[in-house]
């Protein structure tokens, strides 16, 4: 009897924990399905080529927000990737263990800073002295947010390179830096690139830090010194506005953003899956 009871408990708990996992997956499926139905419905070429229509007029698109997001991400990558990657090289190859753990800990703390606080930081750093919102400020804040993850993922993949490769390079007479740049980094290349792709996908959906840095507008935004629209902020503004037409546009924008983010995630995770540390 006792054994039977234990077996029943075993089966029940297996079922319950499986339900928990299925629930999480169900949420994802629901999000995907709902956005596909509501977002794809009104998605057309205009969405990608036209400027937003004024209130009361139907139609229009979000071409300026798509371009704005692209510019912000370009700037963010230019800021975040070099600093993050080189910082990762330092942690994996050069740092003494004491200093490395300090840098690692601070990096993780920086990663945990709420995105809205990062927005305030960029505001005090760029917007306040310049006295106007700008693409520059928005790109900078996204770039800073990319740094911690770029550091940690680069470091992990560099650490995953077998010691034998380094020793081989050194035995052939290469200096330390030469072995790092011609042997170790190329060996970890796939993982590092995958980490960067996921990192870009992550900040592509960031909304909070852009509200008072890149701000947003309904027009094209030439150059880097003017405020610019971006997809996530457009979704937010349109979702909380009281117009049905705008809600519809928000669904379309949400669908486009989700497809971009998820396809980068899926492609990266499938194409770059190698032995080594798990991607985050």
């Amino acid at each position: 009897m006792r054994l039977l009871r234990r077996k029943i408990v075993n089966a029940v708990m297996l079922g319950l924990t499986a339900l928990c996992a299925l629930f999480a997956v169900g949420v994802l499926m629901f999000i995907l399905g709902y956005l596909a139905v509501h977002g794809a419905r009104s998605l057309n070429l205009n969405f990608f080529t036209k400027l937003p229509a004024p209130v009361g007029e139907t139609g229009g698109g979000m071409a300026n927000a798509i371009l704005g997001s692209a510019k912000l991400l370009l700037l963010a990558t230019a800021v975040g990737v070099p600093i993050g990657f080189l910082g990762g090289v330092f942690l994996a190859e050069f740092a003494s263990s004491g200093f490395a753990s300090v840098v690692r800990y601070v990096t993780d703390l920086l990663n945990g800073v709420p995105s809205i606080v990062m927005g305030i930081f960029a505001y005090t750093l760029v917007v306040l002295p310049q006295k106007h919102f700008s693409t520059l400020a928005g790109g900078l804040v996204l770039g800073i947010m990319m740094i911690p993850i770029a550091v940690r993922s680069s470091e992990e993949f560099l650490r995953g390179v077998p010691l034998a490769l380094r020793e081989g390079a050194m035995a052939l007479g290469a200096s330390k830096s030469r072995s790092i740049f011609t042997v170790v980094i190329p060996a970890a290349k796939n993982g590092i690139i995958a980490g960067i792709m996921l990192n870009i996908a992550r900040v592509a959906g960031e909304t909070a830090p852009l509200i008072f840095t890149a701000f947003g507008n309904q027009f094209w935004s030439p150059g880097w010194e003017q405020p610019t629209a971006s997809l996530p902020v457009m979704i937010y503004n349109y979702a909380v506005a009281p117009y049905d037409d705008w809600h519809q546009q928000a669904w379309s924008a949400g669908f486009v953003l989700l497809m971009l983010v998820l396809s980068v995630n899926i492609i990266t995770r499938v194409a770059f899956t190698t032995r080594g540390p798990a991607l985050r």
Partner: protein, 323 residues
């Protein structure tokens, strides 16, 4: 004056400033300096972040002192600023989110790490990683147009059952602390799952084999031998999720109701620190108003940094096997 003898090999190191130049040219030291500079940049950014938040929130600190944290007056017109309603809303919505997310998240993590067949676990883990990648503004969008109608339709039955308690009394308008908590739980469940799963996977196999050898079932092995070993790390994942919930902005802003008052009922609208910053920052007129919002940012920063710092230590100590 000028050095007359040029070094013939890189191992010959002349003294003085030329020594530094020479060493940099050899590559190793140059690489060291450049990568060190990048690592130091991370430290500088963090220090600058704290400095800027502190410097720009000086005005309300002088005017209100510590009473900024305990006052519930938020009246931009009269120049009265108190953080309590926002701290309350942030803590309540996060606590509610944890209440929902802990059992679901830890349960799913146990299933994925211990009980599921490897291929099922692989597929589900992949999908849950994707859920974690969904931008919060999209969760908020679904919160407004899907979650609110659903909750509005089930609210009467919840209130019929639990309306006697002050936590569920009062009219329900759709936007509420409760709605925000539910939406927030969706944001942190994948987070708890992925970190807890990783922590459970680091538990040494000896633990499992010993329990199974004594005749324990799979569940008994998991619950009595594996989970206790990983409990510090699981606790760490929960604290990390809490830190994330406290700072989460968009999903909360869109459904919490944005009412800067303290209501005992979860069914009433509220506000959170991140939400008030997102909503009022661009329209803050006057220096005191703006710097009060920045001080709210400093409060939020302090909250998350303390919880995050503790959580990282917990996760690190488990992964080092001190469990």
């Amino acid at each position: 004056m000028a050095a007359t003898i040029a070094p013939t090999t890189s191992s010959a190191r002349p003294a003085g400033p030329r020594k530094l130049l020479q060493r940099l040219r050899s590559g190793d030291d140059a690489a060291y300096v450049v990568t060190l500079a990048a690592a130091v940049t991370v430290l500088v950014i963090t220090a600058l972040l704290i400095f800027e938040l502190y410097k720009n929130s000086a005005l309300p600190r002088q005017k209100f002192g510590w009473s900024f944290l305990t006052s519930s007056a938020w009246d931009p017109v009269a120049g009265e600023f108190g953080a309590l309603p926002f701290i309350y809303g942030t803590v309540v919505t996060s606590a509610l989110a944890l209440l929902i997310a802990i059992p679901l998240g830890v349960g799913a993590a146990i299933f994925l790490a211990e009980l599921a067949p490897p291929w099922i676990s692989g597929v589900l883990t992949f999908l849950i990683e994707l859920l974690a990648a969904v931008p919060s503004v999209i969760i908020g969008l679904l919160g407004i147009f899907v979650m609110i109608p659903i909750l509005t339709s089930v609210a009467p039955s919840i209130q019929a059952a639990l309306g006697w308690s002050p936590a569920f009394s009062g009219p329900f308008y759709g936007v509420s602390l409760f709605t925000a908590g539910v939406v927030l739980s969706v944001m942190i469940i994948p987070f708890i799952i992925s970190i807890s799963r990783e922590v459970i996977l680091t538990v040494p196999n000896d633990q499992r084999e010993a329990a199974l050898a004594l005749g324990a079932t799979r569940w008994e092995t998991t619950w009595d031998a594996v989970v206790p070993f990983a409990k510090k790390g699981i606790a760490g994942s929960i604290f990390l999720a809490l830190a994330r919930a406290l700072g989460e902005t968009m999903a909360v802003t869109m459904v919490v109701g944005n009412d800067p008052k303290i209501h005992a009922s979860l069914m009433a609208p509220g506000y959170s620190i991140a939400a008030v910053i997102a909503n009022q920052f661009t329209e803050a007129t006057g220096e005191l108003y703006l710097s009060s919002l920045i001080e709210l940012g400093l409060v939020l920063f302090g909250l998350t940094i303390v919880i995050n710092g503790g959580a990282r230590l917990l996760v690190m100590s488990t992964e080092r096997g001190e469990g």
